[in-house]
């Protein structure tokens, strides 16, 4: 039984690191600020939550598992809110979209930049 728990935990951590690899390749290869932000934030947040879930599965509801369980919703809320604020700030800063982008939702709204 203990072997199954350790194998399951290591498998969850390996899946999380696979997601992190995808996110970092997207951060390296995509052509635009907004594409990089979207790819990297989604993949890396989900991968890190999978790693923390692996810690929880391995140790159960001990001290280390409870800390991992607390870190998961904290990471979800803060990472997504920070990415949203960063996208809006870089749009207001004046960074253009890439050449192959087809849709711009912020274009019709008039912002007062003060």
């Amino acid at each position: 039984m203990a072997d199954i728990i350790i194998i399951l935990s290591t498998l969850l951590i390996a899946i999380g690191i696979l997601f992190n690899i995808f996110g970092c390749v997207g951060l390296l290869r995509l052509p635009d600020v907004y594409n990089r932000l979207q790819s990297a934030t989604k993949c890396v947040t989900l991968g890190t939550c999978s790693i923390l879930l692996g810690v929880l599965v391995r140790y159960g509801f001990a001290s280390i598992g409870i800390k991992a369980l607390v870190a998961i919703p904290l990471l979800f809320f803060t990472a997504t809110v920070a990415a949203h604020a960063l996208a809006k700030a870089s749009y207001r800063f004046g960074i253009k979209l890439g050449e192959k982008s087809v849709h711009d939702d912020y274009k019709d709204e008039d912002y007062d930049v003060s």
């Binding site: 951590i13 390749v25 951060l27 390296l28 904290l74 803060t78 920070a82 960063l86 930049v113």
Partner: protein
């Protein structure tokens, strides 16, 4: 097995450092810094398993909060500037 995964996770930080150094605009550097902060939390979790010390996850939780505050502050700073001026 876990040591190899820790080495891979640490090597992923090099991609973020590349984006921080070679980013064309300042927003690319901020994206790299944000992702770097999330990757460090994963490193803290794996090190906490390897050494079996629970307080290393406290470092991860504090790092999440500090990374959030830093990114929000830089975004508010960037929002009040213009690229062309």
């Amino acid at each position: 097995m876990l040591e190899i995964l820790l080495y891979i996770q640490t090597g992923l930080c090099v991609f973020c450092l590349y984006r921080i150094i070679r980013g064309p605009t300042i927003a690319d550097r901020m994206v790299g810094l944000d992702i770097f902060g999330i990757l460090v939390v994963g490193i803290c979790a794996i090190v906490a398993i390897l050494t079996e010390r629970p307080y290393i996850l406290d470092v991860g939780i504090a790092w999440i909060i500090l990374s959030f505050i830093g990114t929000i502050t830089l975004a508010k700073y960037l929002e009040n500037k213009k690229l062309n001026e």
